[in-house]
Amino acid sequence: MSLSEHLPALLVVIPLLAAPLCVLLRHPLYAWIVALASSSLTLLAAYQVLMQVRDGSVIRYTLGGWSAPTGIEYYIDSVNATVALVVALISTVVLVYTRAISQKQLVTDKHYLLYTAWMLCLCGLIGIVITGDAFNVFVFLEISSLSTYLLISLGTQRNALTAAFRYLVMGSIGASFILIGIGYLFAATGTLNMVDLAQRIPEVQESRTILVAFSFLTIGLMIKAAVFPLHAWLANAYHHAPVFVTAFLAGTATKVSLYVMLRFFFSIFGADYSFAQMFLTSVLLPAAMAGYLLMSLVAVYQTDLRRMLAYSSIAQIGYIVAAISMVSVTGLTAAMVHIVNHALIKTALFMSVGCMMYRMGHAHIKSFDHLIRSMPFTVMAFIVSGLSLIGVPLTAGFISKFTLINGALDRGWWLVAASVLVSSLLATVYITRAAEVMVFNRNRVGHPQPSGMNEAPVSMLVPMWLLIGLSVYTGINGTETLAVAEQAAMQLLGGFE
């Protein structure tokens, strides 16, 4: 057996092995090296896996050699291979970036804890994405959630502790709902394997057990993905967590939950059950629309950059959920593209905020007067990725918004298309409001002017610009991303093989 056959297992095992190694080494630098190396290896493996399933094939890897319905298997098609690649990519890039800023924001003897929790979180996130077993989803979900609580509590302010605690309560309720849902699915079908579930649910889908399972899973996943009415934990968590942790989580945690949503709604229950019989569209679409309109509006009034971006994240999740509720190839393509693009954009935005915090020590918009003079690269990064967030042509954000509006118009949902435009307008307002302060000199008397260049370290700028370059590239040449996303959409609508 060659190594390439074991790639699915390695995706999870490499970070799992790195976590205890970080504990044993305890040295901040060595722990960072181990974490970075394992994250890069995971990235490499994820890329290889995506290339293997790019032709529409499916990898099924049985753990322990126990064949599918009995044992646990990893099921990888182009949907989850894409998400896994994004998660590994963001983890690696942000880890490079983290070294410099964590030295400034975190005491030395906590660094190894940071990297251990980071690796466990990565292990959990990738595990959720590639597993083909419903109960395994819950286990990995809890691995990633528990380490996320730790990561958030590392924040410099004491608010981080209460934010982490509130997230823990909400997250545990969400995970417990998912656990109940899986339990009822098991009670009704006698299996936990996703492919098996998809085959057996149609036989019993009239039963009330399946209905209960479906409801619990929907609510649980909506909490985990921070879909609008259930988003309360997100703003605090993103605001008070260390900024490098926020950059990592913003691109990965909610995206992975959205992926699980796609998997359950489309592959396991089937689009027909979820949307035609359960009227999921009438639940998800109003929530999504209210989400992106209200949260964009709330973002406009924020005084802290991190909080502004956190509310913007909830709005962006709204777009993705709106795209999901279209139940069409275009809609799902838009959802997949936006999962990828928003991960890249929002991570880059939080990274640029991190650079500002590295020099300024805080993220209050007001005090960033004329910041462009001292930190030109950082401010440019903020503006470029901000434009991408708005959806200006030639950026990645444009591609996803274009596909999203296309999908809405296909369905004849004029109101949705219009409200997406309104929400984008609001995004323009909040990004411009912040950018305006940074670029123009509104020199008020008594305000000390920063003199000369005071740019963040190169080790932070390079990974940030790498991500921005990637998102600009996908903006200019969107065919590759769109092709992958479209294939993923087809596979989702087609169900399991």
């Binding site: 074991h6 297992a9 092995l17 205890p20 504990v23 322990g64 005491v107 003897d109 906590k110 410099t156």
Partner: protein, 210 residues
Amino acid sequence: MRRHQQQRHRVLQIVAKLLIPYILLFALYVQFHGDYGPGGGFQAGVIFAVGFILHGLIFGVLRTRKVVTPGAVRNLMAVGVLLYAGTGVLSMFMGGHYLDYGVLADDPLRGQHWGIFAVELGVGITVAAVMISLFYSFASPRGEVAASNAPAESTANFGKMTPQQSTHKTAANNIQHKSPAPTDDPDFDDRNSKTGEPKIGEPKTDGKPS
């Protein structure tokens, strides 16, 4: 005063000394007999940790921390996970799938046996270490006043006494000789630990920075 206290707990101490070896032995039995009967790493790990937790309750956490240092516990936690994941990787190198124990020996049955043995041992070590470290971090006297928003103090470290910890009377008694107003009345001691915060600059109850 210290001797006085120790005499008061003499019965408990002797009973504990008698019991602890059997608890540990039973844990090992549950661990290694798990192949043939009910048992396994989870249960064995918890029982094994109970031996140390009992020691901590009777003799005070500070003495237990000398028996098993927090550093050792932390390393054992990591070793257990490594053993578990390493067994899986080993089976991968031997030509099977991840955690496919069948390939670990010539005879698949024997391979399964060895695989389960190693994995459960890893689980047992980790569970025991985690339970002990949970006990340490909740029961340990927290000697240093933590600055409110300084990131400087670490999770497993000792800030100040919290109400939860004062329920562990023996633990509180044990550091009593360091508190400003020593008295023999255990109730007073309890009140003291609830309301009075240890003085800044008081010697750290444990020399080891964790």
